[in-house]
Amino acid sequence: MARINSPKELEELRQKILSQRDPNKPCITLCSGTACHASGSENIAAIFLQELEKEGLKADVDFRRTGCHGFCERGPIVVIYPEEICYLQVQPEDVPEIISQTIKEKKVIDRLLYADPTTGEKVTYEPEIPFYKNQKQVVFGTNRRIDPTSIEDYLAIGGYRALAKALFEMTPEQVVNEVTKANLRGRGGGGFPTGRKWETTRDAPGEPKYVIVNADEGDPGAYMDRSLLEGNPHSVLEGLVIGAYAIGSHEGFIYVRQEYPLAVENVYIAIKQAEEYGLLGKNILGSGFDFTIDVHRGAGAFVSGESSALMTAIEGRVGEPRPKYIRTAVSGIWDKPSNLNNVETWANVPLIIDRGANWYTSIGTEGSKGTKIFSLVGKVNNTGLVEVPMGVTLREIIYNIGGGIPGGKKFKAVQTGGPSGGVIPEKYLDAPVDFDELTKLDSMMGSGGMIVMDEDTCVVDVARYFIDFLCDESCGKCVPCREGLKHMREILDDIVSGRGKPGDIELLEGISRIMARASLCALGQTAPNPVLTTIKYFRDEYEAHIEEKRCPALVCKDLISFYIDPSKCQACMICGRECPVGAISGGKGLVHIIDQDKCTRCGTCFDVCPARFSAVRKISGEPVPEAIPEAERVLARGK
């Protein structure tokens, strides 16, 4: 490929790429994000290519692997253009039929379409599926139209146009001003105004200055940054180069988790392509501006996502935070001014420059502009990534897009903001989602994790889960975080295993107050949030664990027993066979009984008991009923 030396050449190349593409030519696209990959999309891709070859259709039909579509629950996803016919959960054996029916005969295969879970109504075209229809995909929507390993695909949808505009039509100050005017706030969690951060680094004394992409997405249950970086890496690169130009930086870093191998791979490919086209490196687009990017893989430490810790890790040292009396924007990597933004923030930048701050501020609420991508996971029908304008309500996200709670269960709470966030109960479902409103509910936006919980989720167990997670991830540098978390974990361990004492709740609150005020970095300062919000909204559940030794959600292993209801047991022997410790007695025609002393409460019997019997019950806070007399165990079947 030839180097591009001016905005004119860039446009010429774009037109050339577009002229070679026929929008009416059939194109089969296959989602190849991590989740679809894990569901076998690579194998399906191989079969598609094989079948197209076999049928002699290679020249007439295009095939493209795309980035993540977001509807991960129903992967692998196949979309056929130009109609945008969408097939879900496609299996290898479906491929020949898709070719013969849909490609050759233009017939839609009914069984592969989306079916509404309540009405059963089928939806043929991808944009009409409620999961997509109720979103506003500004940043994330391009993922499904491009192959992340093809810079030509990105150019075809207008890629790098914003970069050319910034470099040739705007001064660095104008770029900063535009981002400030757009009121873009940091998508990594803090919500700090990006324009102000850029300005600080720009004005700070010291050279060189650095710009960094934080792709150390550590919040468990959040994966939007990974999907953006692996699905559309060029949009992040373009944002970064624009930012570098605005700030006056010539060297950038992408710090990405090594647990995201596909993102790492795609970023390397994108950087190489951008360099070859002259969109990175020396004299970008002939503007005289130089900029290079280095990729650093994170090695599995949650705390390294904190800005000062991440910068220390880039220096090759242990990624621990430091006190930030002087901000990293002023003194970061090797004590030089360093501007750090997360993946999603960078991906917003080209849009703001290309379409203008006025367009951008037309989306969202007063204090939070634009859209936000959420990772909607947990006990929800449509698990996946959703992008919505700031200000939509939790209910709209969970019900209209997420399709509600599976299995007819009742909604209990939603956890936002990862380990630093809080749990929000049902009564606030109509709260609008933006930076400030979530903070009012004692939770936070965080990076966009949204974990839905149903009535079968124990909030005390969830609080313990987060504290346990943070306890492992605390770097141990400051006492309040290191010791505070350890003690909180001990107390919560006691509560969930039936050793809770009166006064434990107050003790947790006390430790929380100290940690929030005295910890060195945000990890410790915000660590108590999951505990404090669960106590605030679900105090009765804590009390049930402590006082009655009862887990209302029937989750905490030490507080529950499994019991086979003799009136329901059909003596089918399935549970007896599956029980790993041989705790279930009974035989053909003999009602089964669990030996409570042997039972390890693994729950296998509960899982395997056929739904039409549902004989296995969980009991908490009350004694297990006496076993029925031997004589009554014999099952009288109507034979």
Partner: protein, 150 residues
């Protein structure tokens, strides 16, 4: 043999301290663990004290200072997997393999580890053996998955 490979990895990078983490990750990727010899070699070639390399290698979860099994099992412990019952999967694995999380079986076939979210929450609970993802796991499915790697 091993030293040649270690040298090749070191040669890929400029000789400065900032490459240390990347270097250790590559060595971990190649050998599944980081040996004393490897640390010694890096120390000599890059002029970084051995103590400092140990500090880095012991801080990060992705690095192991003891040999690991032929197959590494990672159970995702992200929040989404947690609320869908990941703890029960790990309990079952510990019981079946007779080891605790973080340990390696005596025959060196399996190492059991946990990871903080792999970002495929739709498939939760997820366990990954080497590079194969096994989604929507239940305790009852564990034995069958393990058999594939025996």
């Amino acid at each position: 043999m091993e030293l040649t490979k270690i040298n090749t990895i070191i040669d890929k990078y400029p000789q400065k301290q900032s490459v240390l983490i990347q270097l250790l990750l590559d060595i971990q990727g190649e050998f599944n663990w980081i040996s004393q010899d490897a640390i010694q070699r890096i120390s000599e070639r890059l002029g970084i004290p051995v103590s400092q390399i140990y500090r880095v290698a012991s801080f990060y979860k992705a690095m192991s200072l003891t040999p690991r099994g032929k197959h590494v099992i990672n159970v995702c412990m992200g929040t989404a997997c947690h609320v869908r019952g990941a703890t029960r999967i790990i309990n079952k694995l510990e019981e079946s393999l007779g080891i605790k999380t973080g340990e390696t079986t005596e025959d060196r076939n399996f190492t059991l580890e946990r990871v903080n979210c792999l970002g495929c929450c739709a498939l939760g609970p997820v366990m990954v053996v080497d590079k194969d993802y096994h989604g929507k796991m239940t305790p009852a499915k564990v034995e069958a998955v393990l058999k594939e790697y025996n």
